[in-house]
């Protein structure tokens, strides 16, 4: 039984709740150069991302996200929630063969139902109380 945490570039932290959920699972950060090439990232962005991953002490692999994760053959994969469509494609692909658990980040604001997001202040009116007060 191999459980694994996939650390993607939107959640490079051991403080993310995905680690509490995954127990003592190994964690891997994958540097997918092709993903970044398609997005046109400059060297400074890539160095910053790699530096964050290296300083967090993660096992770092290089290659395509899906290829590396399939090579590691986890029976269960834990991953931090992500809105990134490229990450979602990886998750959807692996879900066909692997149990995937997506873990949300600690909430910044607690709102009963999603507000009208066309204007920031409509969101903020409903988010403010829980953001300002710890017990709200």
């Amino acid at each position: 039984m191999v459980t694994l945490v996939w650390v993607h570039d939107g959640a490079i932290s051991r403080d993310h709740p995905v680690f509490a959920r995954a127990g003592d699972a190994d964690a891997v950060f994958i540097f997918d150069a092709e993903h970044y090439r398609v997005r046109g990232y400059s060297l400074k962005r890539l160095v910053f991302i790699m530096e964050c991953a290296v300083h967090a002490g993660f096992d770092i692999r290089e290659g395509r996200y899906t290829d590396i994760l399939q090579e590691l053959t986890p029976t269960e994969l834990f991953v931090a929630r992500t809105p990134d469509p490229d990450h979602k494609i990886v998750i959807d692909t692996l879900r066909k063969t692997t149990k995937i658990t997506v873990v949300k980040e600690r909430p910044f604001a607690t709102i009963d139902r999603e507000p009208d997001l066309r204007r920031f202040f409509r969101y903020w009116k409903r988010a403010k109380k829980s953001v300002m007060k710890p017990d709200a």
């Binding site: 939107g10 150069a33 400074k44 997001l117 969101y123």
Partner: protein, 255 residues
């Protein structure tokens, strides 16, 4: 275990991505660098100066973008330090707001939320950035300074981002998507949601009117950090009424 020495990290990235352009930013990655920023932050100074390009802003965006410091942890830190009474937590709220948009309205990230309110249609805007913007040789001193800062450091003050975006969309009439892609190439905190929705706001495709500025505003908020002389920034000079007439001659009376 990969070496934490910066020169080793840069060499590794260059080997893995030989196509990547430019040099590394002087801004360091990693949790220790992020914590150092938190220690240096002066909340009182922030409240008084945050709209100025040399103001006491936290510059924590790159670390939040990549989850090195989770947004909820930053909120807790702010509460603990007493920043909560000011505008700081509201500013953090923008990040949460944009992430919610990305999750629930992914089509807003690259498509116009609505039409431009500039008197022009989307077809009136160029698809690509002109070369003089890419090279930072527009001849408008402040704009060229902002471009150099973006390309060299990968970071811009939020106000500077708005100035540069407004110049590209409204003075040069380029589609906001072209500018947004360019920012994502360079900004260390470049996030499609925060970045693109801000470009849409400047452009007026997600707001009721375009954001634009004049040289007086630039001198007030950026005069300490860039060349805002009249002689070298003439296209930006004029009253808001003058500029409206020059930039948006076909706009209606809705704003």
């Amino acid at each position: 275990m990969t070496s934490t020495d910066r020169s080793d990290i840069i060499a590794l990235v260059k080997a893995l991505a030989p196509w990547a352009e430019g040099e590394a930013s002087p801004i360091l990655g990693g949790i220790n660098a992020a914590r150092a920023r938190l220690l240096e932050f002066d909340a009182a100074h922030y409240g008084m100066t945050r709209n100025h390009t040399d103001g006491g802003v936290l510059r924590i965006g790159p670390y939040v973008r990549h989850g090195v410091i989770p947004l909820a942890d930053l909120r807790d830190h702010a509460r603990e330090k007493g920043y909560g009474a000011g505008a700081f937590l509201q500013q953090l709220g923008w990040r949460d707001y944009f992430q919610r948009i990305w999750r629930t309205h992914p089509d807003w990230i690259w498509d116009n939320v609505a039409d431009y309110k500039t008197g022009y249609s989307a077809d009136d805007y160029a698809d690509d950035l002109p070369d003089d913007i890419l090279t930072g040789e527009t001849g408008v001193a402040a704009i060229d300074g902002f471009i150099a800062e973006l390309v060299t450091t990968g970071y811009l003050h939020n106000h500077t981002r708005l100035y540069l975006a407004a110049y590209i969309v409204h003075w040069r009439r380029v589609k906001w998507q072209a500018g947004a892609r360019w920012f994502l190439t360079h900004l260390l905190d470049g996030d499609p949601a925060s970045n693109n929705m801000s470009w849409q706001w400047v452009s007026s495709t997600s707001s009721n009117k375009p954001y634009y500025f004049n040289l007086d505003n630039l001198q007030k908020f950026a005069g300490n950090t860039t060349d805002t002389s009249y002689a070298r920034n003439k296209p930006l000079a004029g009253s808001y009424e003058d500029l409206r007439g020059r930039l948006f001659p076909l706009a209606g009376t809705e704003w």
